[in-house]
């Protein structure tokens, strides 16, 4: 079932009128011209609306159930994706998918969080919240990519790493920590694309990269705004306020220079045009991968090290 976005409510009348005109247009050309006029009006209003989204609204767009997810991108923007399963320790975490695929004819390794488009699929995928098995599967695929010289592309879309007794017992903290460590030293280029919401260590565990790209309405946060509001004010109800104060939008991340690029979404968000979004992502990724594979490994690793080691700002240093 598709999410209905509260802030789009003012457009629903216009949308209904347009739908009516479109169906009438099948028999009446006048109605067709009317539909075109309504469509132009709707586009104009969508454009204005989406330009002015606040952080909380962007998060709702990032979480929209029709928004393309990694397996959609793998189908629409890559070819021959072959999913590999399991962490070779305990299980196969369906909240993380991965395997080799071709991007414009170049073999790459893709590792991504995977949410569902409906409740059933979401339950199967644990809403994209990975446990230690997911992060260990990711590490296995990173190492394989390094062995084979395949650039790594990760796609991030997670409310956070999973919280539970079994996850703690099987080493959630160790799995995240070693995944980050693996990425810090991995001897192939890594590109991360934030396709939806990127929250907590669960996002960073597959998010250490040479280039980080974010979709226009995606978000990045140290914890989901709901969790952050509980930590900050002991009230999940204040999540919209946390989203505002924590500067979670792609535009904020770009201003902070924490990410390298914001990829524009189709008019009215990626959920309105998955194919269009996927093609934009592909066209954006291709030159980024090409430029990174032309870098020597020493330079690449040094630049990646500096990217994270030099993260500021602070004051009062002795030096």
């Amino acid at each position: 079932m598709a999410t209905s976005l509260e802030f789009e409510a003012p457009l629903s009348e216009l949308q209904a009128e347009l739908d009516k005109a479109r169906s009438a247009a099948v028999v009446n050309p006048d109605s067709g011209r009317n539909a075109d006029r309504l469509q132009a009006q709707l586009n104009e209003r969508l454009y204005v609306l989406y330009q002015g989204l606040n952080p909380w609204q962007k998060l709702q767009v990032a979480r929209h159930s029709n928004r393309p997810h990694p397996l959609d991108y793998l189908r629409l923007a890559f070819t021959d994706f072959t999913e590999l399963h399991g962490d070779r320790c305990f299980g196969d975490d369906k909240a993380i998918v991965g395997g080799p695929a071709f991007l414009d004819g170049r073999a790459v390794m893709v590792v991504a969080h995977q949410k569902g488009h409906d409740t059933r699929e979401n339950v199967r995928r644990n809403f994209g919240m990975a446990g230690p098995e997911g992060f260990r599967k990711a590490q296995r695929l990173f190492k394989l990519a390094e062995k084979l010289g395949l650039p790594v592309i990760t796609m991030i879309d997670t409310p956070g790493a999973n919280v539970g007794v079994a996850d703690e017992e099987r080493g959630q903290v160790e799995a995240i920590a070693s995944s980050i460590a693996e990425m810090c030293s991995l001897k192939v280029p890594i590109i991360s694309v934030v396709t939806g919401e990127a929250n907590s260590g669960g996002a960073l565990a597959i998010g250490v990269a040479d280039r980080i790209l974010m979709l226009e309405h995606s978000t990045y946060s140290v914890a989901s705004p709901e969790a952050a509001a509980v930590i900050l004010w002991r009230s999940a109800q204040r999540a919209p306020e946390a989203a505002e104060a924590m500067r979670i939008t792609a535009q904020d991340m770009l201003n902070f220079k924490l990410v390298d690029m914001v990829i524009p979404e189709p008019l009215g968000g990626a959920h309105r045009d998955a194919t269009g979004m996927a093609l934009t992502v592909r066209d954006t990724l291709i030159p980024v991968v090409t430029s990174l594979v032309s870098m020597g490994i020493t330079d690449l690793l040094e630049a990646r090290y500096r990217r994270y080691r030099d993260l500021g700002p602070f004051t009062g240093s002795d030096l």
Binding site: V165, A177, A203, S221, A245, L311
Partner: protein, 315 residues
């Protein structure tokens, strides 16, 4: 032991007065674990461990360093390094920048971690420790930078690294900057293997969230204090997620040991000796180390790295 009774001045830490725990003479406190009434002076002399049930009370940063390090050996670096509030975070008219001043006054340190050089039973090392009294030992930019600088210092001096964790997690007020400290500290650690120096991570109660999900769980040897809570999420958050009371023993030092996640649970009285012994063992190389990434180290560093001397072992 007489560790806390005298007020030694040998630590160069600028602890605030309020951080030095009061030592009233005739006070009784109740052990939260076994309910036993403890004479405070006696329990302080016992390193704040209940003599009856071995429950380990939390130590202040000051007490922690004093119990572990050689007297007078700690030399703090970057004492004044502090957060500069990257998000300009404010809520309900109160600014995070103002709160930082308040935390500092309460905790006696400029940020939620300190680091510097020291020795343990004569073995030189670099130590970095969280100050839980400063906003729950949370990791923002300054804490991440101090941990990373501690690693850098251990690399440049070719001495072992010890981190002592006590943290509630990433500092929300610094948003993704705080999250990225997990990558910063981990990236820094990747260079420790270049000089073949060991990293010992000590986890104390509590060590939760971004700290164990990054550098604190990447120790070559990981030690925890008895009963310490160690996990990705705190007890309340886990209870909320599983919608039931936390099963006893979840995410404790003992559970971590049973599940193969740490090397040992070590009582407070034995920590100092255990860490010293480990450091002597782990720095006792008699065969040339084949260090990673030698090609990218400057030549003179590499030469030094190939013939690392056993520095200052023993007394």
């Amino acid at each position: 032991m007489d560790l806390f009774r005298r007020r030694p001045r040998h630590l160069s830490l600028p602890f605030g007065e309020h951080n030095q725990q009061e030592e009233p003479d005739n006070l009784w406190i109740r052990c939260p674990s076994c309910n036993e009434q403890l004479y405070e002076r006696e329990y302080i002399d016992n390193l704040r461990v209940c003599p009856k049930c071995r429950f380990h009370f939390r130590l202040s940063l000051y007490e922690r360093l004093e119990t572990l390090l050689d007297a007078g050996s700690f030399e703090e670096f970057d004492k004044h390094l502090r957060s500069s509030d990257p998000l300009n975070f404010r809520s309900e008219g109160s600014a995070y920048a103002d709160k930082l001043i308040e935390y500092e006054r309460k905790a006696g340190t400029a940020e939620a971690a300190v680091y510097g050089s020291a020795s343990v039973e004569g073995v030189p090392l670099v130590v970095a420790a969280n100050n839980f009294a400063f906003q729950g030992g949370s990791m923002g930019v300054a804490v991440g930078e101090k941990i990373a600088r501690a690693v850098d210092l251990a690399v440049s001096r070719r001495v072992p690294l010890l981190t002592i964790s006590a943290s509630g997690g990433a500092r929300q007020h610094e948003g993704v900057y705080a999250l990225m400290q997990m990558a910063k500290t981990t990236a820094a650690l990747s260079r420790l293997s270049r000089v073949g120096m060991p990293y010992v991570s000590l986890l104390t109660d509590p060590t939760v969230g971004g700290v164990p999900a990054s550098y604190a769980m990447l120790g070559d040897v990981t030690i925890a204090e008895p009963g310490a809570f160690i996990g990705f999420a705190g007890p309340r958050v886990i209870e909320q997620a599983i919608r039931q009371k936390l099963p006893p023993g979840t995410a404790t030092a003992e559970s971590m040991l049973a599940h193969g996640m740490i090397d040992m649970v070590c009582s407070r009285a034995e920590l100092r000796g255990t860490i010293a012994r480990l450091l002597r063992l782990l720095t006792g190389a008699s065969y040339p180390r084949h260090l990673e990434d030698q090609a990218s180290l400057p030549a003179e560093q590499m030469a030094a790295g190939m013939h690392i001397e056993r520095t200052g072992v023993g007394d």
